[in-house]
Amino acid sequence: MSLGTPRSLASSGQKNIQDIRHPLCAAEESASSRSADALIHPGSGAATGGGGGEKDLSLPNGTPVETSSPASSSSLLNRLQLDDDLDGETRDLFVTVDDPKKHVSTMETYITYRVCTKTTRTEFDLPEYSVRRRYQDFDWLRNKLEESQPTHLIPPLPEKFVMKGVVDRFSEEFVDTRRKALDKFLKRVADHPVLSFNEHFNAFLLAKDLNKRQGLALLTKMGESVKYVTGGYKLRGRPIEFAAMGDYLDMFTQKLGTIDRIAQRIIKEQSEFLMELREYGPVYSSWSSFEEELHDPLEGVSGCVSNCSSALDELTEDMSEEFLPVLREYVLYIESMKTVLKKRDQVQAEYETKLEAVVFREDKKTPVPTDVEKCQDRVECFNADLKADWDRWQNNKRQDFRQLLTGMADKNIQYYEKCLAAWESLIPSLQDKQEARDETN
């Protein structure tokens, strides 16, 4: 809590944050586009086969990689409904990541992804772009964004380092999980009212070759390039709302961890159940081999159990590949948010310290008052940016989890529906024979 100079800090934190209008804050933006893009704009990457004109060096197992996750009719509806939340705001920049391809050179082997952009913005010369990027390039982009937009929450990237020998970096599963995360990353940047106009982002989307050296002229929208030094400034008192954010993030992380563990446990139990089912079904088959009248019914049951096994296998796989990664990526997102909160704390601390120096000391070491004003500006802008990003993040989180959990429910429903169909189709064949027999009696 601020002790020494409450009045001086008034403008930085106690004012109702809603009243501070972010210069570039658009009207209520709550969109989470993500794969809704793929559905609304079929051209932007859904179900493409061979990709660009390059010869296909397809993935190890030789199959063309599926670029967008198949949507069941119910989850399709969910995504379309989410778009109704847009509140009339028109998006003018759509980005997708698809078509992973393996590149083998003498030095290294790596995967590139196609990044497709569709836009009506005038900053862009063309309405459509398509470039190939590898993970390194995404990493570069993120670093640049963090550097140039330090007051904003930059969405996270999937984990950079993968333990070789433990995870196969080129397996279809790993590549697809990463692709989805990269796609989400770009979509979040594209949806951000400030980040989407960042010149590095621009370059990332368009440039044939990313010149990753500092060749580009830096023209930041914020004015001068601001460098934030995280040098031991001690924070007096964090405004309540930012403290609350921190608390929330801590508790949320904890809950996510629990959910992750539960999901993993369920997958494990289901896998073990599946193992038993795989032994259970065939026993009916071997029984049928020495029965006459009962041969067909027993075979039928064996077949049913087998169908249920396949359905369960799919459910477990889906949960592993789609549910868990998204959950884990949110933990990264939370980490990013915490980092921004810390930076904000630092900026405030710097301001407080400098202000203190001015107020309490009248010697040569005192900084120029304008310096203090700049600090105050920084604090206010940061707080405003952060607040706006926080709201956006909360909204996105809500939609993301709604979608994630609804998806989980859907997968379970589909599993049960498949099993139900299998068993229901068995009943008439079991009972028909019964009636036929009764008739001949």
Binding site: E293, F401, I427
Partner: protein, 434 residues
């Protein structure tokens, strides 16, 4: 209550039915409601109770007794609905009854009792005989046993069975008076003995083989099913953890809170639903177990055939060798090597009187032997006839019952799937309101 049926037909220990009599009894092949005792009498095992008392070695023990209620069918249909007659029996008495029936009617595939101890249990299910769920399932199994016996053309007419249902006191003594215990011991010995039969009836050999295979496959099925039940239990119960974490999470959320909270309740409901599901499946397991034990009964009937066949073959073999001896003695030629022959060669021939005496003895023995062979032959034939009829009856019953069991199993699965769909739909609705 005692009336016409019981006096006329086969009673205690009488396996000497003439072929025509057996055929008469076994005309009807479908056994459900059509036959004898069950036509006249309603039987059910209504309750179970705990008792304590002193056992044979004067020690305190706790055991369960079951209430058997019987009521004449006619009375019930007249609408008067009189109070049923009833008596209490414990499991060991059922066992005694069954052991008696096994000895008295070796050509019948005698219905099995529910298991003595819980086997093929999965972890939640207890192996405790006093557990109320176990007792309840046993009650159902005992009732099923009685109904099966009461609907069997041959077994239902047995006096001992009848008095089991109607006379509480002194029944045990009556059973022991039949002297079946001695036969029971020799029966067991014979069943476990190893002997080689030269010409078994192929149908019985095949049926025995079938019984072995059935026993093996059902055992395996029950084992795997129990393990699968364990796993399924785990899957459902872990979902209960979602209930708790969603509840905790909803506390730190604003708009998402309600949706999460209610979804959590549905996850709890989902976790709880597995108890009923698995209880129902135990019923299916019990149906399979009955036929697991039936396989044993089938095997016993086939073994009995082997035994009678073997005894016939032994008698025939004995007769043949006696005849051979007579021939040798009569003609003086020794066709086969025998110690007697050697010793007589070494130590001199017998006197004519001795030979005469021997011949006479052999003749008598041969006569007796021929009678025996004839007897055993008849025995064998009759046994084959009546046993095969019962085996055919059993086969039809098995096909019918197991088909029914599979149908009800499929229905159970369908119900489980529908419940699952409903719960997840409910949860999905809550999620969509987040």
């Amino acid at each position: 209550m005692a009336d016409s049926g019981s006096e006329e037909i086969a009673v205690i220990g009488n396996t000497d039915l003439t072929p025509s009599e057996s055929e008469n009894n076994l005309k009807n092949t479908m056994v459900e409601k059509g036959t004898n005792l069950l036509k006249r009498m309603e039987i059910n095992v209504a309750e179970a109770e705990k008792r304590t008392g002193k056992n044979a070695v004067n020690m305190q023990e706790t055991y369960t007794v079951y209430l058997i209620e019987t009521r004449p069918v006619d009375a019930a249909s007249e609408g008067t609905n009189p109070v049923p007659d009833s008596l209490w029996r414990r499991y060991s008495e059922f066992e005694l009854l069954r052991n008696y029936l096994l000895v008295a009617y070796p050509f019948v595939v005698v219905p099995p009792l529910p298991e003595k101890r819980a086997e093929f249990v999965w972890h939640k299910l207890t192996a405790d005989n006093m557990d109320p769920d176990f007792v309840e399932r046993r009650r159902v199994g005992l009732e099923n046993f009685l109904l099966r016996v009461a609907s069997h053309q041959v077994l239902s007419n047995d006096k001992i069975f009848y008095s089991f249902l109607t006379e509480e006191n002194g029944w045990k003594e009556t059973v022991f008076e039949t002297g079946f215990q001695a036969k029971a011991d020799s029966r067991l010995k014979a069943l476990n003995a190893t002997f080689r039969v030269k010409n078994p009836d192929k149908r019985f050999a095949d049926m025995k083989h079938y019984g072995d295979e059935l026993q093996s496959v059902i055992s395996q099925l029950l084992r795997v099913r129990a393990r699968a039940a364990d796993r399924l239990y785990g899957v459902y119960k872990v979902h209960g953890n979602y209930g708790r974490v969603f509840s905790e999470w909803s506390a730190i959320e604003k708009e998402m809170g309600d949706g999460l909270q209610s979804a959590g309740h549905h996850m709890d409901a989902y976790a709880a639903s597995v108890d009923d599901i698995l209880e129902e499946e135990e019923h299916y397991a019990d149906q399979l177990k009955e036929y697991l034990f039936y396989a044993d009964a089938v095997r016993a009937v086939c073994r009995k055939h082997e035994l009678t066949q073997f005894e016939l073959e032994m008698a025939a073999q004995d007769l043949t060798s006696k005849k051979q001896q007579r021939e040798e003695l009569a003609t003086g030629t020794v066709r086969t090597f025998s110690l007697k022959g050697m010793t007589s060669k070494l130590f001199g021939q017998e006197t004519p009187e001795q030979r005469e005496a021997k011949l006479k003895m052999l003749e008598t023995q041969i006569e007796e032997g021929e009678e025996l062979v004839k007897e055993r032959n008849t025995e064998c034939d009759e046994y084959v006839k009546s046993a095969w009829v019962d085996i055919e009856r059993f086969k039809e019953q098995k096909d019918h019952d197991l088909r029914e069991a599979l149908i009800s199993y499929a229905i159970m699965q369908i119900s489980m799937c529908k419940k699952g769909i409903q719960v997840w739909n409910n949860a999905k609705e809550c999620f969509s309101k987040m």
